[in-house]
């Protein structure tokens, strides 16, 4: 009884320790995945901020009367680049998308501009960057969903919080973002 009992107890403890190690590593992996996904959104957002000045420069000489459209984009870009919470970020990004959408709508009135390489190239690059942003968000949300589910599920829920794993916030406003993409792309 003595030795057999000891072996069983040691085996059970070893199994529990192994389980905790595997779960911990799994949680770390998912947490890193979430952070990686979040960085990817930033990369794409930054790419879009970098594209915009070039677009405005290329478009400026075509239309003179539409100054407020260009100013609106510049303002929305500056607003979006400020550090802010994910929720505010989503809102200011939506405003920026709207402003860019306006520019393409107005460009319809300028046949010369409409058919120019400058606009077509930027239309593709911007549309693609907006897609990349929304796909990066989609991937981020998927990763968050997976991570949150993991730390909320039994039995990881017992010790996940104690080990410093907390729920992450979703990126909202996926819907309207996606729509503005289809509007701006021809």
């Amino acid at each position: 009884m003595g030795t057999a009992g000891t072996i069983i107890v040691v085996a059970i403890i070893a199994l529990i320790v192994l389980y905790v190690i595997f779960t911990y590593n799994g949680l770390v992996r998912r947490k890193n995945q979430v952070e990686e996904a979040y960085r990817q959104i930033d990369v794409q957002l930054k790419r879009r901020y970098d594209l915009i000045p070039n677009l405005l420069e290329g478009v400026k000489r075509y239309f003179k009367q539409e100054q407020q459209v260009l100013e609106e984009i510049t303002r929305a870009r500056a607003e979006a680049m400020k550090p802010q919470s994910p929720r505010e970020q989503a809102q200011s990004e939506a405003r920026l998308s709207g402003a860019i959408g306006n520019l393409f709508a107005v460009a319809e009135n300028y046949p010369e501009l409409r058919s120019s390489r400058v606009l077509l190239d930027f239309q593709e690059e911007l549309a693609s960057t907006e897609n990349k942003i929304s796909f990066a968000r989609q991937h981020y949300n998927d990763s968050v969903q997976e991570y949150n589910t993991k730390i909320q599920s039994f039995p990881a829920v017992i010790f996940a919080r104690a080990m410093g794993f907390t729920e992450r916030e979703y990126f909202e406003a996926e819907g309207p973002e996606r729509e503005s993409v289809t509007v701006s792309y021809d």
Partner: protein
């Protein structure tokens, strides 16, 4: 519904990883046993069996290693694909990048095949070594949403580790055919010296018959297995593609356009046909419900995608086997 979809794609990766390992072990055992029996039957003693075993091991091992590490380059070269960068085809490159981001994968290499038949495939043993190839016909004939659907389908093959799995199946089939062919030819050239004096002539005769049957049937079964896996994973990749794009219509429209197109793809052959999103050898695909087709019937794939479109909820299609 995102949760369910996410779980199934994780399961799919895990299953493909598990199946790959299982297949590799089966492959090893199968090739060695095959070599052993043929060696024994041919020479007629255990030394011959050992000889057959060693030959099978090296033939299988060599072709296996070569395919695993250089298979993608061979396929791309055979398909006359040329590597492109962003400025060569901005829309294609952007769409691939978008889908890589959606799948959370590194950017694959992008190739174009100069052929007017619309088609596409992905290759590479893991997401770090993946390549996506599309024909110039596909770029001309599809709009952006449709192209996105096709690329999403290919990125799903990459993400689900389908490519590694089907490559291992391909190696198994190839080696089986190679050994069987070697054996049948050797019979033709008068192999199989009988050593009746050693008293195991009868055993040798039985093994000869077993080997003969194996040599005829094994390649057929291996090929059928390969084709059934190939058909099944197309449905799964369609479903995963919708997971990425959240837009079943793009892929459904693309498949419809590709199905209507009657141009054959010149660079495709029987060895590479199963890689493509739609069977490039149209002539064989007229009645595609047969056991010998590489792809499921395209009308069926379109029907499932259309059902997702109207249902709104992305479902994983025929998520079997």
């Amino acid at each position: 519904m995102r949760g369910a979809a996410e779980a199934t794609f994780r399961e799919r990766i895990a299953r493909n990883r598990r199946n790959s390992l299982l297949l590799f072990v089966t492959f090893l055992v199968f090739v060695l046993a095959f070599g052993y029996i043929i060696g024994y039957a041919w020479v007629g003693d255990p030394a011959g069996a050992f000889f057959g075993l060693v030959i099978a091991f090296f033939a299988g091992g060599l072709s296996g290693l070569l395919s695993y590490y250089a298979g993608d380059k061979m396929v791309l070269a055979a398909s006359r694909a040329r590597r492109i960068e962003h400025d060569d085809a901005p829309v294609l490159f952007n769409v691939v990048e978008e889908m890589a981001i959606a799948a959370g994968l590194p950017m694959p290499k992008v190739y174009v095949i100069d052929d007017s038949a619309p088609n596409a495939f992905a290759t590479g043993r893991d997401p770090e070594h993946a390549s996506v190839a599309v024909t110039s016909g596909l770029l001309e004939k599809l709009d952006r949403d449709e192209l996105q659907g096709v690329i999403a389908h290919e990125m799903s093959h990459v993400r689900n580790l389908d490519i590694r799995y089907s490559m291992l199946v391909g190696i198994l089939v190839g080696t089986t055919v190679l050994i069987a062919d070697f054996f049948l030819r050797s019979l033709w050239w008068g192999g199989g010296r009988r050593r009746n004096d050693q008293g195991n002539g009868q055993l040798q005769l039985i093994l000869m018959i077993v080997a003969l049957i194996l040599a005829i049937l094994a390649p057929i079964f291996a090929r059928l297995l390969q084709l059934s896996i190939s058909r099944q994973r197309e449905y799964l990749a369609d479903a995963s593609a919708v997971e990425l794009t959240r837009n079943p219509k793009g892929l459904a429209d693309a498949l419809e356009k590709i199905a209507k197109d009657q141009e054959p793809l010149e660079v495709a052959n029987r060895a590479t046909a199963h890689l493509y999103i739609v069977n490039p050898i149209k002539r064989f695909e007229k009645h595609s419900r047969s056991l010998f087709s590489t792809h499921p019937p395209i009308e069926e794939r379109i029907r499932i995608l259309r059902a997702m479109e109207t249902g709104g909820v992305p479902q994983t299609g025929r998520d079997a086997g």
